[in-house]
Symmetry: C3
Subunit: 337 residues, 3 copies
Amino acid sequence: MQSFIGQHILSVNQFDREAVERVFAVADTMAPYANREKRTTVLQGAILGNLFFEASTRTRVSFGTAFNLLGGEVRETTGMSTSALAKGESLYDTARVLSGYSDIIAMRHPHAGSVSEFSEGSRVPVINGGDGANEHPTQALLDLYTIAKERASYGQSIDKLHIAMIGDLKFGRTVHSLAKMLTHFDNVKFTLISPTELSMPQSICDIIENKGHQLVISDQLEGIVEADICYQTRIQEERFPSQEEANKYRGKFRLNQQIYTQHFKSQTVIMHPLPRDSRAEANELDNDLNKNPNLAIFRQTDNGVLVRMALFALTLGVADKISDFDRPVHWYSNKSN
Amino acid sequence: MQSFIGQHILSVNQFDREAVERVFAVADTMAPYANREKRTTVLQGAILGNLFFEASTRTRVSFGTAFNLLGGEVRETTGMSTSALAKGESLYDTARVLSGYSDIIAMRHPHAGSVSEFSEGSRVPVINGGDGANEHPTQALLDLYTIAKERASYGQSIDKLHIAMIGDLKFGRTVHSLAKMLTHFDNVKFTLISPTELSMPQSICDIIENKGHQLVISDQLEGIVEADICYQTRIQEERFPSQEEANKYRGKFRLNQQIYTQHFKSQTVIMHPLPRDSRAEANELDNDLNKNPNLAIFRQTDNGVLVRMALFALTLGVADKISDFDRPVHWYSNKSN
Amino acid sequence: MQSFIGQHILSVNQFDREAVERVFAVADTMAPYANREKRTTVLQGAILGNLFFEASTRTRVSFGTAFNLLGGEVRETTGMSTSALAKGESLYDTARVLSGYSDIIAMRHPHAGSVSEFSEGSRVPVINGGDGANEHPTQALLDLYTIAKERASYGQSIDKLHIAMIGDLKFGRTVHSLAKMLTHFDNVKFTLISPTELSMPQSICDIIENKGHQLVISDQLEGIVEADICYQTRIQEERFPSQEEANKYRGKFRLNQQIYTQHFKSQTVIMHPLPRDSRAEANELDNDLNKNPNLAIFRQTDNGVLVRMALFALTLGVADKISDFDRPVHWYSNKSN
């Protein structure tokens, strides 16, 4: 990816190491704005079309907030039942029309490939906010950015990372994308822990090994004691043939403070794509971990805002102009604490 | 309540007389902005998270408008079915995540206690926009502020007020909160008129009497002739065992211009929490009262914007800086007429 | 219509030739803002109440975008099920309350006459965004504005236009309104092509003929070879007694590049109110026309933004002040290409 200006962001496959590092460098510059140390008006008057044909409150609000933090306005739509798409309009037509109403578009849609198809009709850059089982590149970027920042706090880089991915590795779009992105770095060790039926697809394992990274596959939690990052996934009930199977699975792969203390080294960072199911019968990540300073799950969602700000700034060509439009913050905030 | 800065606004119980008077003093300063005599950019760049997990068009729009009038941006969500809460996420997690997307949150939720629980996870101030049968403090404040302004137009204060509350006093959250707030003032007379089965809870009556106010209880409209304020409530069909019971009730407690002329003194101000049911079979407040200058129901909703502006300004610590950011209004408006 | 300031825009019947030309002159001045050559802050701080009691993504977003492009903020509501209207509130009450929350309102509602009734309670100007089968004046204006611009690109005016209207002319609100507007100009020729059961209402035909325009009625596509504009309408399945009838209809009135080449002169402009149904079984306007430079359907929706900007500017009295608040655009855009 040579330049981001005017480009669509559709897939993690667009990102090589250089592109990732460019996004992260820009994301770093966004922290003072998100932390309310200052604000910028660089995109004052610009309009984001925030098109969520599939509902997703937090992703939608995160995109909208990121655009507001750059000074821009947001026009939104949620759901598909009342849209012209439901009346048989093509994605091409929808894109031609709606791209006339904004400067950039963030879009989620339940069908794989839909955002890419939409982008062909769009006259403005389109950022994929999730297209079904296919891609959710901003989630992968915020996960990787979180890893980079957590590692940096210990004076380390992503190179030589040991990451354990736990749970449903077969259907979890998140871990597939993250794994692919990590292969751009050097000497990463992947410990993939899941029940055999939910193991990482061979295609992803091949990419990991072809790029010379270390790969350990297990169906036991015990293997992860040396991991720097523990990436836990969401338990999806519907993947199991019966309630009994699901319960058995949970018994083996849930995480709480006791298991953490028993199996992990003291600095292992815990991540999760959220939301986590807090009901006692699910509980893939127990609330008793909330006091653990290595629980990075809320730093992940905060970082999502920074990454989305960076992508907006890069695709709209203002990444180097942000601070030219700095303004003071007049109101109370404790976000920088 | 010593200072509002950075505080959550969850309950009317947080407000003593001094706090109420502080809110109202700030609300008074908001009128020129709401009336479009001028505008302010004090919160330009700030973001309100307007989280309505239970739909309520007017309360939601009123909060959003109040924030826009201070110069800020609004990110919104409506409904709960598509939210992470529906997937088992805890209110704590939702709060931790969503509070990363805004500077302040206004929240409505169908369950009693939910907003308070949410506030414990929030890293920004939370204003309760209604949590089920529990609390709706901004409604109570706008009602009380309306009373204060109506009284002031006759050169009087809230002290020595005679208020008649009419209708469903058992389930009406609004009248409970308003009654509690009024007890902070001196020598208020409460005339509570309802069918016996829908009378004011004893706990509220106790507060009124323990603070030394006068209390009259009746099931006849006739008692209210001397009231300064007549606070009519919404008739809720589902409270009655049968249609016949409901009709009987309505026959006794509806209000129209003829009944007003017959039973009230000429300056009695009519209030209602809105919406009122305009269908002929309901009709707790007849449309023929629309020409009565003492019908204050639309002044109530207008005052709601001022009160919400005041709460935003106070909790974000900008109440004394508003006019430093004054700008002229360039467009046509007849709001100040 | 002498002055637009403070007026409601409810019906095409409000517009004579002079009013239309005033709107279009202002719409012309909006192009540099929509094309991102510059931006304006003239309505910074103003609030649009974008009230879509009936969902319509593109009309809603178009109104919102138009207001944002003038520098203003947008507060929105979509759907009616959760609104106070569903609880029996009158349109008058809804209007009194919601007009306290904005400077101007754009409103769509499923019931004919509802927007006009609402406007009587509103304390701010109301623009009709469609009230059921009744009126959708901004659609008619954007259609007519598109005709004016397409004609101008060939050095012609609307006078002496030959327009063919095709398809469901009985139930199509769009073609009724457009026909009425066109009668304000001189020597227009109308060729109305539809199955007999879906022909243009006699009342509209009377207006056309009483104003001295030429009228040709046909049930054959062949008649339109000389038309300057071909206005194709949406095929609405539910108008036909059976699937078989619908298919027969489509066989006769669909349009694709082959039919275009065969029946039209080379400069005939193709219009459609959108959305078009792209499914093979419907296909009133084939995708193979997308490469035809005379396909104006996406220019129509782009023009819709300009027309709505013009109406906001005129009703709020800022049409002559826009450029006093010009600001540069800092971000990447190819909209002016």
